[in-house]
Amino acid sequence: MESVGSIIMYFIIAVAIIVFSVLTVTTRKILRSATYLLFTLFATAAVYFMMDYEFLGAVQIAVYAGGIVVLFVFSILLTSRPGDNTEKLASRRRVLGLTAAVAMLLVAGYSLVSRCSMFVSRPEMGEIDMQQVGTALMGTGYGQYLLPFEAISVLLLACIIGGIVVARKR
């Protein structure tokens, strides 16, 4: 049985996620869309904190909310022109998108609800400290991720170079 606080907390977060997600894709102004995305990301970070993954939550806030959204905002400012912000959706397009999304929601939701394993409650778990995370990242044994880590670093490097090359003024 959870504490009432966490239940309330959960509902706040869930509502925030749902509302801001919907707003993100329904608002007509692109800058607002980015802002709602930011809120969604924060809500996600809150979910991570609730799951006791503090490190992950921190990363989510720092990288996603702090880095990516800022990038979005910059690029929006760079590429937008007056009058661009509002885009009218063709109704056919919207119906198509809506159909797909709703159908997806129904199928996936049905399959979720129809499964009793979905109703497991949260087991207890010890605190994950930074040392554990660091060891898992730096090791090469079972459940340790040095190789993906290195791969990611190479990817990031490539990405930096790629970004420079692509965006460079000729």
Partner: protein, 675 residues
């Protein structure tokens, strides 16, 4: 016999061809002419030596008692197909090949000599391509000699083709003239078609007998005959059995052997211009006249006769094939004789006369049976071949002299030339008398023996051929009178009177005329018979006269004289009788004048049927159906790619949508199945 002489007989003309062909352009005209003529002269002497040695030396390899043997002087492997089927290039000496050596080299030499004068205009300017002309003549002589001395049927076929090619080149000598080009093309293709039959005949024959060699093929004994053709050189083992057993298979109503022999005869029909493959020969007169004399009168066109004679023992085994030869020959003889009566172009008259005379030889071979006068038909055919070669070459060379003098081929431009060209006149008359069969000229004896042979075979053929002989006399004298008599020759302003030609041209005329006078007395019965046996016990100058069947001879003489008399009445002086005759039978005249529309028929077949109904549809089919289906496949692939490339639009949202639909369906299926 030392093979060096036979080798030289073949080698000299070949060398002349190569030398004149490759370096002719660097030589001056007279040198080329002299070189060619001298080469042929040497060849002629060598051929005489060979023939003389063969007939009269009495050497054991040539003659055994009173039998002439076949002798293979040399035989070189040329192309080996299987162990037994080998093409060899060799030199077979037997009565007919020796005879042919003499005929070919004599006529060829005369023509070489004659051409020195003929291939120049009145001002002594040489024809362009004079050297080329001599080169081709040498090539022809080489091929023809190679043909007659062939030791196996495939060697014969090889030289047969070469002869055809050199004939093509010579007919088309004036290659800028479209009519000459088409004539040469026609000659080649028609004879090629006939050669196809020849080739297939060879294939069938060799398949069943397993050999190409004449000595093996012809040594097969004839059932019920005592005369076994003697074989020297190669062995003839096993050929009897092969022939006895292989004659059995029946194909479309005839034994395969009959088919093979008839197909081989088809080759002969093509070369010898038998009906219905005769159409090339009149057109071949587009070539220079000496060529007509050499190739299209005396030598090449009798190759078919020679072929039948060469395989005569085989033909004897399948008498059906001989009957076919007689029918073809008789029809051709009559047809050509009728056509010759109405032609205007003197060379065409001579050409049809040639066809008719060759048909005589064919008939003669066809009616020959060993049981009648030792196969006199065979001897008569060969005899006629010999005499005909002489007098027909003479006639053609005379015609050449006339054409050279007048500049036209039509007798309408000649008339009454006897005073202007006396030598030509006399020699032409001798030729006409010879061909008409007037005693004592050459043609009388040979034609008389042919008629005797026909008489021995069937009364029908005898009467038929006698009638044709009469026609021969008629159309030849018609020609003679129309050229030399009829009305006086008009000399137009500014033209020289026609006159006899230089000695290079008249000498051959005189020589050939002399031969035509005396050739009839050659005792052929002791030289050339179907089985090599002598026909007479002893020979003298008068042997042929003594052995004549006078009942036949008198009748044929009467017919000939009557025909000549008719021609004299009709054509000696300008008179309306010919016109009246024409009105009397207008249809016959028109058909005869138009050569019974054979050319039109062939034109129809080749252009309308073969070109328009076979070639064009096939070409169309290829371009549109076959190629079209290939293009169609490519087109389909292209259409298909156009059709589906819209899916690959680059619109990522579209991709996602399609992907989602797929994923959802899969998901739905999974969900439904799992429940």
């Amino acid at each position: 016999m030392d093979p060096i002489i036979p080798i030289l007989i073949l080698a000299i003309p070949l060398c002349m061809f190569l030398v004149l062909g490759l370096f002719g352009n660097k030589m001056s005209h007279p040198i080329a002419g002299i070189l060619g003529t001298a080469g042929m002269g040497v060849t002629m002497v060598l051929a005489y030596i060979t023939a003389f040695t063969y007939f009269f030396s009495g050497a054991p390899q040539f003659i055994d008692g009173d039998v002439h043997l076949q002798n293979i002087v040399f035989n070189q492997d040329w192309l080996q197909f299987t162990d037994s089927l080998v093409i060899r290039l060799g030199f077979l000496l037997d009565p007919i090949s020796a005879l042919m050596l003499v005929v070919i080299t004599t006529i060829s030499f005369m023509v070489h000599l004659y051409s020195n004068g003929y291939m120049r205009d009145h001002h002594g300017v040489w024809e362009t391509g004079f050297q080329r002309f001599y080169a081709f003549l040498s090539l022809f002589s080489f091929s023809m000699l190679g043909l007659v001395v062939a030791t196996n049927i495939f060697q014969m076929y090889i030289f047969w083709e070469l002869v055809g090619a050199s004939s093509y080149l010579l007919i088309g000598f004036y290659y800028t003239k479209p009519s000459a080009v088409s004539a040469s093309k026609k000659a080649f293709i028609v004879t090629r078609f006939a050669d196809l039959g020849f080739l297939i005949g060879i294939l069938i024959l060799s398949f069943y007998t397993g050999t190409f060699n004449f000595t093996d093929l012809t040594s097969a004994p004839v059932a019920g005959m005592d005369g076994v053709y003697q074989v020297s050189g190669e062995t003839a083992a096993g050929i009897r059995n092969i022939f006895q057993t292989s004659a059995a298979p029946i194909f479309m109503g005839g034994s395969v052997m009959t088919w093979a022999l008839v197909l081989i005869f088809m080759g002969g029909m093509g070369k010898s211009a038998m009906l219905p493959l005769h159409i090339w020969l009149p057109d071949a007169m587009e070539g220079p006249t000496p060529v007509s004399a050499l190739i299209h009168a005396a030598t090449m066109v009798v190759a078919g006769v020679y072929l039948v004679a060469r395989l005569f023992p085989l033909y004897l085994m399948e008498v059906t094939s001989l009957d076919i030869i007689v029918v073809v020959g008789a029809l051709t003889a009559l047809y050509a004789a009728i056509v010759a009566c109405t032609q205007v172009d003197i060379k065409r008259v001579l050409a049809f006369s040639t066809i008719s005379q060759i048909a005589f030889m064919m008939v003669s071979l066809g009616v020959a049976r060993p049981e009648f006068h030792h196969g006199i038909g065979y001897m008569a055919g060969m005899f006629h071949l010999f005499t005909h070669a002489m007098f027909k070459a003479l006639l053609f060379l005379c015609a050449g002299a006339l054409i050279h003098a007048i500049g036209s081929n039509d007798y309408t431009d000649m008339h009454g030339l006897r005073k202007y060209m006396p030598v030509t006149h006399i020699t032409f008359l001798i030729g006409c008398l010879a061909i008409a069969g007037i005693i004592p000229f050459a043609g009388f004896f040979s034609k008389d023996e042919i008629l005797t042979a026909c008489f021995g075979n069937s009364m029908v053929w005898y009467i038929w051929m006698s009638f044709v002989a009469g026609l021969t006399a008629f159309y030849m004298f018609r020609l003679y009178y129309l050229i030399f008599w009829w009305k006086e020759h008009k000399i137009h302003e500014g033209h020289h009177a026609p006159h006899d030609q230089p000695w290079t041209m008249t000498l051959p005329l005189v020589v050939l005329a002399a031969i035509s006078c005396v050739a009839g007395f050659v005792p052929f019965g002791n030289l050339v018979t179907w089985n090599g046996h002598n026909m007479f016990d002893h020979v003298s100058f008068l042997t042929n006269l003594e052995n004549l069947d006078w009942s036949v001879a008198v009748i044929s003489l009467l017919v000939a004289v009557a025909a000549i008399a008719l021609a004299t009445v009709m054509y000696k002086k300008e008179n309306p009788m010919p016109e009246r005759m024409r009105r009397l039978m207008p249809n016959l005249w028109r058909w005869s004048r138009n050569r019974f529309y054979w050319d039109e028929l062939y034109m129809f077949i080749t252009h309308k049927i073969i070109f328009n109904l076979i070639c064009r549809p096939i070409a169309w089919f290829d371009r549109h159906i076959i190629d079209g289906s290939m293009d169609g496949m490519a087109y389909l692939a292209q259409r298909a790619s156009y059709a589906i490339r819209g899916l690959q639009s680059g619109n990522i949202q579209m991709y996602v949508w399609v992907y989602l639909i797929g994923a959802l369906l899969l998901g739905a299926v999974t969900v439904i199945c799992l429940i």
